[in-house]
C-alpha cells in the first residue's frame, strides 16, 4: 500500500510536467506563475517524503538498530521489496546532494553580485563598462531593495523607451521577488528531476511576468516587444569580453526571447483563475498522497508493534 501512495506524487509530478507547457501558453503569467510554483513545491516535498518513507523500511538492515524489538519485527514483515527501498534511498540521497549544490550556487552567485553592488554608490542602477550588452537583476539582502546591473553596451543599444522597458523589466523581477520563485523551483527540480520541465516553465513565466509589467509601465506591448528584440539582436552580434552571454544547448533557452516577443505581440493572455486553482489542486493531491503514505506507514508500524507486544 505504501508503494502505491508513493507512486502517486511521482505520477502527479509527471502530469504536472506535461501540463506545464499548455499552462504557460494559455494562462496569464501572473496567475500561472504562483500556481505552478506552489504545485511544484508541494509535489517535490510530497515525492521526497514518500521516498523517504520507503527508504525508512531499510532500518531493519542497520546492524546497530536491530536490538530494538520493533525494528527486529520489521525484518521479513516489510511490505516494501528491498530493491525498491534501496532505489528510494538512493534517489533521496542524490536529491539532497543536488539540492545542496543548487542552493550553494544561488548563494555564491548572489553574494558575488551583491558585493559588486555594495561598492557602487548608486541607489538602483549599477552600470558596467562593457561593450557587450547584458542586464541582470540582483536581489537585495533581507528587507533591502535590490539592484539592476546593466552594461554600457546594453544601454547604448537601446533607445529611450526601450531603456525604460529594460529598467521596468528588471524592477519587476526585484519587486516580485522572482529570485525566490527561482530558488524554489530549482530546489524542487533538484529533489525530483521529474519536475524539471515545470521548473523551466516557471523560469520562462518569470520572464513573461517581468515583460508584462514592463509593457504596463511604458504603456505599450509593442514597445516592450521592440526592446526585447533589440536587446536580443545586440546580444547576438556583440562578442562579450566576459563570456557571460552564452547560449545553452536547451531549446527552451534558445526559444526564450522569440517566444516572449511573440507573446508580447499577441493580446494580453486571459486570467483563467479556475485553471490556476486546478494546478494548485494537483499539487495538493500530491500532499494528500504523501499523507496517505504516512498513514499506511504508521499503520504498518502499529501493526508490528501490536504483533510484538
Amino acid at each position: 500500500v505504501i508503494t502505491a501512495w508513493v507512486d502517486a506524487p511521482l505520477l502527479l509530478s509527471l502530469l504536472l510536467a506535461v501540463l506545464s507547457r499548455p499552462v504557460v501558453h494559455r494562462l496569464s503569467p501572473r496567475t500561472a506563475t504562483p500556481a505552478l510554483v506552489v504545485a511544484v513545491a508541494l509535489a517535490a516535498l510530497a515525492s521526497t517524503w514518500g521516498l523517504l518513507l520507503l527508504a525508512l523500511t531499510l532500518v531493519d538492515d542497520v546492524p546497530w538498530l536491530t536490538h530494538i524489538p520493533l525494528i527486529r519485527a520489521l525484518e521479513g514483515a516489510s511490505p516494501v521489496p528491498g530493491v525498491v527501498a534501496d532505489a528510494a534511498a538512493l534517489v533521496v540521497i542524490l536529491g539532497l546532494y543536488r539540492l545542496g549544490k543548487v542552493l550553494r550556487s544561488h548563494r555564491l552567485t548572489n553574494r558575488a553580485f551583491r558585493e559588486l553592488c555594495d561598492t557602487s554608490s548608486a541607489d538602483e542602477l549599477v552600470v558596467l563598462a562593457d561593450r557587450a550588452p547584458h542586464a541582470v537583476a540582483v536581489p537585495g539582502r533581507w528587507q533591502r531593495p535590490g539592484h539592476i546591473v546593466v552594461s554600457s553596451g546594453m544601454l547604448s543599444a537601446l533607445d529611450h523607451d526601450e531603456r525604460l522597458v529594460l529598467l521596468a523589466h528588471e524592477r519587476a523581477h526585484l519587486r516580485g521577488r522572482h529570485h525566490w520563485h527561482h530558488v524554489i523551483v530549482d530546489a524542487a527540480a533538484a529533489l525530483n528531476p521529474l519536475l524539471s520541465p515545470t521548473r523551466e516553465a516557471v523560469i520562462f513565466l518569470l520572464e513573461r511576468c517581468a515583460d508584462e509589467s514592463a509593457a504596463l509601465a511604458v504603456g505599450s506591448r509593442a514597445v516592450a516587444a521592440r526592446s526585447l528584440v533589440r536587446a536580443a539582436l545586440a546580444s547576438t552580434t556583440t562578442v562579450s569580453t566576459m563570456t557571460t552571454v552564452s547560449t545553452g544547448p536547451l531549446a527552451f533557452d534558445r526559444l526564450n526571447v522569440t517566444e516572449r516577443v511573440v507573446a508580447l505581440r499577441a493580446p494580453a493572455p486571459p486570467e483563467r483563475t479556475l485553471v490556476a486553482v486546478g494546478v494548485v489542486l494537483l499539487g495538493l493531491c500530491t500532499t494528500l498522497a504523501a499523507g496517505g503514505a504516512t498513514v499506511s506507514c504508521a499503520e504498518l508500524f502499529e501493526h508490528l508493534l501490536r504483533g510484538h507486544v
Binding site: D123, A135, A137, L155, A232
Partner: protein
Amino acid sequence: MARRTTKTSAGRRAAGELESEVLSALWAAPAPLTPREVQSAVSGQLAYNTVHTILTRLTDKGLVARVPLTRGAGYRPTKDAAELAADQMRAALARGSDRDAVLQRFVTSLDPVDEAALRKLLGEEPR
C-alpha cells in the same frame, strides 16, 4: 541606500528610479548632455529643476561628472566606477560556475533562424 520619496501623486516615481533613468540616458548618449538635453531624453514630464537635482545628486555620488561646454555645463557618466564594477563582475563570473542557471537575464542570445525572424519583425515595427 534606499532613498525613496513617498509617492505624492499618481505617476510620480521614486527618486532611485529617476536616478536610474537619468544615468542610463547619460550612458547611452555619445557625448555629454546638458540638463535640457537630459530633460528631453528622459520621459519629458520631468521638471527642469528635478532633472538638475538628480544630476547634482549623481555628481555628488561620483557617478556623473560635470564638464564645461561652450555654453553652460554638460554631464557625462564617470567611467571609473563602471570599470571597477566590470572588473568585479569579471572576477565574480570567473569564480561562479553555474551562474547562467541562477541569474535572471534580460535576454539570451539567438540562433540565426530566430535572429532573422526577429530582424524582420523589427523592420515591421514603426520606430
